[in-house]
Symmetry: D2
Subunit: 361 residues, 4 copies
């Protein structure tokens, strides 16, 4: 379903070409001031075609807050934000899905919903539905920041072009702040050019490309999270896989770490004044599902956009024959860039729940 | 927490050196015959020191079923199984944690539970707590098999020694059956020798090693799973990260797939008789969170056991000083082998919930 | 919180004087036709000042459906409906609560939300928030009716003026149909006059009056519901107590039934053709939390509206002194009448979840 | 299902004649000392045939705590307690249900579980399953008492013999303490004799009798609970209806209160020093689902035990004919007495969750 969370619940609704999309956030603490400009900045980072724009405001993606906020302060009641769809066309598509796009949810959605799902623009499976998640994340991160918790991600790779990774044992606030408002977020900004060139090459070839996003959460005190099924990894991943195109999540050293021996992988504890820290942070700030006080660091794998203009083999579900499909319309050749604030938002919403669980919210 | 699931809930309890461990499974369909020998076979695959043993039975790890089963058939009431701890020692440890083992949950558990957690043998964080999960999985897979759904995993890698991977578009039942009862499960059995040599080398050096496990679920019809937060990836990962030492989960081509262009990564649909299939299966059987009818394939990263006999730097929480620790006792130099049935079990329990969600249970 | 349900979740949002109120319904089956006129009819039954109006439409309470519906048919994606608030005034109340109204949520909401809750018109505690519940119920009952399940309630009492009760062993479809669209629903329509007189007397005396509502759900097959905490009584009551002013819920013979001996209270089974029925239905269609196939019958206690124009003693939370309060504005002297469709709606939403739980949705 | 709760979850398992019954409590705070004698005292209040016994200990109903407790202090890990069934007989009943007892769950359980449920002694529907709930409640109330929260109930009525009711605006600690350990709990102890006479009369006539239980929770600060579906009434009732035979729940003045006008029913606020209180407490300590700081008071309706030795009409499900049934065995002619600690326990478990929800646990 499109509802998530226990202590703080989000319920995301909408379809790409319906009346509107949005989110209800239930369980927010009262008395939290919400800066609307900061909200819009986050929305703008995700919005299509915005990454070189001068203005962070896009009337089309402007969320309208219907409830839960009074004098820009949370009331404790559910906060609902609605974003109107402006590309809704009046003609009836008849909702006939003939040829599902390869590696898209067209076919599986068709089977799951017996052909009744709204297929226009991907319907509820559209990447557009990440906008309400970013809205929720933008609310969450303002609350988290007041508790000293920062969340920022960067484009870790586009195809085989890689950014530097976080030094997980030492992530400066200044870097976190820079990244958390960046539109093309990189630790090594020198990689923007080759990445953009690769993306442009994909566009020219009517193709797309995947990549990875690395995200850090700093300022989380030790002791947040619960064993087994409510650990930080479980909670984070259960939201992260809600982002279309995410096919993998790893924490700390993740898959690479499996090559190491225990003596190499273990992170020694030491006292830094009165604070227990680890010299290295291969554990990604999480041990036994619970925060260690070190930065939480994880990476997500984002597959190449399946919507490409090249001809592809597929089936015709009406005639039950094999056929060939060309996807029309302009599609993003690399969603990794715009997915950065979405990943941060998923982490922010997850973090809010984890804090609530240990009475810190 | 140690409870998981909606339609079918599991609640795992126990501590390594307490009275016993076990699981309550609530929401099982009634009328399902449970083969106790098949249950014990799965328990034996996970049990310590069993991988060359002749007998699948270990009295010590024998689950006692207290409820939910009558004449070896599920009654529909909660099924509770208890496994006694036999290594419980009577002396009082005083529960004083002085020196947390690096990269273990000792420290984070201490902070989370304010020092009241049972630290003996890792307490509730012990790998022993995967036994009840294997029990639940063993029940689940019997129900799933009756619906044509098979679950099997293999040791995909130990350190840098790798097994062959599944051909995700074509996984024969015979392979699934062989792997699902194997103790050292490999597709290419020739890799057992070098893997065992590497593990033995780690043991001799008082060290440990990580690895990866690849798991397949076959026979799942198209249309299982829900968008966003109840997709197959979300549900699977929320259980998988409940297994100690799991630091990453990827579906289909996962992280490697991010290197590919859409034209390479997309899986073309075709009609195989009346059935829609894909020629390749880079999507790992999941599109938009929903099964496509192709095998579900995923990999998990298992970090090296943190408990190693080498001296390691750590802190003394009582004296608040830095110190050096040697972990005593015999520890498994590579938990990957025994984690194979645990991963399968997590998948089985997850699958049960996903089926329930679409009225197939 | 304002979210409810597992298989089918509703998330209600809004505040009396905010931008709007509404509901997200997640988990609806796809392919269900929704009759908008039938929706509006139910909304009109609850709307204020409508009970003698000629038109069932009130532009002010017109729900806008933003998602989940295509060609008036459910898509399977979350269905969101928004109802605009038209009485939002621009001036800032400053949100200063001085004098909480006795027996209203003013004081408890103030403490719970540390003074940040929107107090205008009761905010999120307002009876106006039952409109989204009626919307959700109106959707649910259309789906239920297609399965032969009817839901209807009547004003069982206003103060000491009582209607006849259902004969719980025999409730004709015609009565269910009449009541489920009635505005002043009574089994014995002759009681409308004395009830209206009592209500009018209360209004004239700046007072209010309580009452009870009896509701029946017919057509539910035997075997719906689960033991202990997911029984029909648990599920129904957990929604019913979400209706403001509900202070009691009883099923079957309820409190009166406690006066009876087992030999009097037990309902004998008999075969009516191939169907097992009971001759009497003191059990209210529920045994062990599970439906027996007999009509489900329950009653709810609705307390007198606390907002009365008479002077009342209360406190001033700013000055911390005792004081006297007169509530201004026109208030409904008896909410029982308008609560009838709300109670039905709660039952409808509950029923949808119960059916989902046993794979009947 | 038999699992309940969010912040603190209980999962109850077992069948009357299976291997054992018990409960897993997940989410308890760590560091809470648990007095085992106090636990056993509560268990003894519920145990059959104990109400005149000298010893509070019954070996047969002795719970074994398998986990979650170390040195009699909660570890924060799930606490599991198992109570062995000693009346398990080896012969196979064949589990053939022929003639369902009127007004019992025999028939509905049979339909729900397709005949596979364990019918011996009522199986999972047996009143015996309230023992694990009392265990959980006994743990919960010790934690609550440390926060100043007391829970006590009394037999409010047996048939038409009534006890005095609580003065809801003024419930002394001494009364709470006396009732919370009483075996035949009454405010007016003079009513014990007529109540026992009525019960004995029912027994002699092979009959049974219903009654009501009134319960108070004192010491709850204002501001606990949430609007709509997580209000105190919702949460309490969702557990209370998990007790077999409970057919109604009312808070404050409940059904009787519906006869009153607002001017009579409203409870005026006043300052008692710095504390806001109400002079009367018809609202039962709850306004808008949230505690007001006044005692929480509610009543539950308990129907007469359906198992009576008189001949009753029922059906034979095997032969599909009408027949006559005599229930054998000794059955409690009035479960109200033993249900008192069960009701308190439900309230205690509910209260724990409500406190967790507002960060007070």
């Amino acid at each position: 379903m499109s509802s998530w969370g226990n202590g703080v619940k989000i319920s995301i609704f909408g379809e790409s070409h319906g009346g509107g999309i949005g989110v209800v956030i239930d369980g927010l603490p009262s008395g939290e001031h919400i800066d609307r400009d900061a909200l819009l900045l986050q929305m703008a980072r995700r919005a299509p075609g915005k990454d070189k724009a001068a203005t962070p405001r896009s009337e089309a993606d402007q969320p309208e807050i219907l409830s839960g906020l009074l004098n820009d302060t949370t009331t404790g009641a559910p906060l609902c934000a609605v974003i109107r769809n402006t590309n809704t066309r009046s003609q009836d598509y008849g909702n006939v899905l003939s040829c599902p796009r390869p590696s898209h949810a067209d076919y599986t959605g068709f089977v799951r919903y017996k052909g009744f799902n709204d297929i226009r623009g991907g319907g509820h499976f559209s990447g557009r539905l990440t906008a309400p998640l970013v809205f929720a994340g933008a609310v969450a991160r303002q609350i988290l920041l007041r508790k000293g918790i920062r969340i920022a991600a960067h484009i870790c790779s586009v195809g085989n072009i890689t950014d530097k990774r976080f030094d997980p044992a030492n992530i400066p606030d200044a870097l976190m702040e820079r990244l958390s408002s960046a539109v093309f977020g990189l630790i090594d900004v020198g990689q923007e050019k080759p990445m953009r060139e690769l993306i442009e090459d994909c566009r020219l070839h009517c193709d797309s490309i995947g990549g990875t996003i690395e995200c850090a959460v700093t300022g989380v005190p030790a002791g947040v999270g619960s064993p087994m099924f409510d650990g930080i990894e479980n909670v984070f991943s259960s939201v992260l896989f809600g982002i279309p195109a995410v096919k993998g999540v790893e924490f700390g050293d993740g898959f690479d770490g499996t090559l190491l021996r225990g003596s190499q992988h273990n992170d020694a504890f030491y006292y830094d004044g009165d604070t227990v820290r680890t010299k290295t942070n291969r554990h990604g700030g999480i041990l036994g599902g619970i925060s260690s006080g070190m930065p939480i660091v994880f990476r997500t794998a984002i597959k190449a956009t399946p919507s490409i203009a090249q001809e592809q083999n597929t089936v015709d579900l009406q005639t039950k024959t094999n056929t060939v499909l060309s996807v029309n319309g302009r599609h993003d050749p690399c969603v990794v860039v715009r997915a950065v604030p979405v990943v941060e938002s998923a982490a922010a919403v997850a973090m809010l729940n984890l804090l609530k669980d240990v009475n810190m919210l």
